[in-house]
């Protein structure tokens, strides 16, 4: 009972309330896309392209496929822009379209999760001499993320990089809030298992 009360109190103080209105210029941008203005789609891409591509790449681990997905998502945005009325954050709305497009594309190609896919990620930027313990830990985290399913990676990316609330994450993934929470919990246990195993091997 206590936790329920606290939870309510915190939900009310959330920095991005679920029904927060989007800045007028974003609503206007979508209105211009709905009015078939080419330039508006380019502006939207300039503002959100990096985030959308990062999300598609996180889901697929394949740069070429991620590009196709973002392009297809832009076509869908063009066709459905009229349905966006500023009732939620534009980023979440756009990410939802990318998510839907990516899931469809991956189901179509039935991509297996394999080790080769790690090569699709950017190489570590550090030079060899700065390979420290911290870098090695980062490598384990990277491998740990790779070994998660796209659905679990999606939740982590949305919460940690895209800055979405759990409710927004649930909307983007088109699943109940409880599923988002259980995916976070599963990811935590999975990664903790890998890290503790690695720590035992390295330091004991």
């Amino acid at each position: 009972m206590i936790s329920y009360a606290v939870s309510n109190a915190i939900t009310e103080k959330r920095p991005w309330p679920i029904a927060m209105a989007e800045p007028e210029y974003n609503v206007e941008l979508m209105r211009r896309i709905a009015a078939r203005e080419d330039m508006a789609l380019c502006e939207l891409y300039a503002a959100y392209g990096q985030r959308l591509y990062a999300y598609a790449l996180r889901l697929t681990n394949e740069p070429a496929l991620a590009e196709d997905i973002v392009q297809d998502a832009l076509v869908i945005v063009w066709r459905t822009a009229g349905r966006y009325r500023g009732e939620g954050r534009l980023a979440a709305w756009l990410l939802g379209i990318v998510h839907h497009t990516a899931i469809k594309a991956m189901r179509h190609r039935s991509i297996p999760i394999s080790d080769e896919m790690v090569t699709g990620l950017p190489a570590p930027t550090d030079s060899p001499e700065t390979q420290t313990q911290a870098n090695q830990q980062a490598q384990w985290v990277r491998d740990g993320l790779q070994s998660l399913s796209p659905e679990h990676r999606a939740v982590l990316e949305l919460v940690f990089y895209q800055g979405l609330s759990l409710d927004e994450t649930a909307k983007v993934c088109n699943c109940p809030l409880g599923t988002v929470k259980s995916r976070l919990s599963y990811a935590r246990q999975h990664l903790r298992g890998i890290l503790s195993r690695q720590n035992v091997e390295e330091w004991r």
Binding site: I10, P15, R58, Q71, V75, V159, G163, L195
Partner: protein
Amino acid sequence: MTAHTYFEEHLPLYAAGQLDGAQRAEIEIHLAGCPECRADLELWAAVSGEIHTANRPLAAPPALAEHALDQIHAPNRLTSAFLRTWQLLRVQALLVRHEMWPASALVMLMGVVVALLADRVNFIYFLAPLVAASSLAMLYGPENDAAMELSLATPTSPWKILLARLSVVSGYNLLLSLGATLLLLFIAPPGLLGTIILGWLGPLTFLSALALLLSIWLGTNQAIAVAYGLWLLQYIPFAAIGPWLDSPGLASAMAVYRQFWQSPLLLLLLSLFLIGLALWSANRPVFRLTSTPS
């Protein structure tokens, strides 16, 4: 312990920097007394750091919005198929022998005049298939087509070219015959309109298809000769020519033959078969070779 579960759930948001001051303070108080949550926080911080590190060098791929717009503005498959077909029909209509258009129209017009003057509606039934057959016999083949080399050099296959011309010229022939029939309403009761049209439609289609096929196989002149001969055969009054031709066997054979030309369904079905055969033949190099002028 329920409180711990609650904080466990909110630690990712804390690590992601999504909580406000009061929420952060609550969690920090719990963290001070809970080593398990401290370990979790370390894990989430590592995950967050790794995701940011991986995404930092990423840039939006160039020109994706432009590609999307190209995709958006490209005509869809149905529209482009329709445009291609229209283009083919237009080009092939221009390549058909030019004198065919006015010649056919003129012959039909003269036929209408004769029919009106002589008060003979049947004259259109007699004339329409002949006009259509001769125009279709001139549809294809080197002796009819100065631009044939050009047509065959294009990636469009011969049967498509033939089908395009067939459609254009047949449509023209049908319009001519319909127009002629409407003019006949000056002397015929309007109630007969359907009967008149049904009367010439079957023979016109069959004779056209036959002429087309024979023109591909034998050449234009032979095709016209055979088609005309077959059509005129039914009008020859054998009994009047001489007593030696006045036999019951021949008379009944001629009755069956005339009946054949008055069976629209049979004629239309046979036409479909002949047109299919003509389209197939147009693609055989051997038939294109034999249709050179002799």
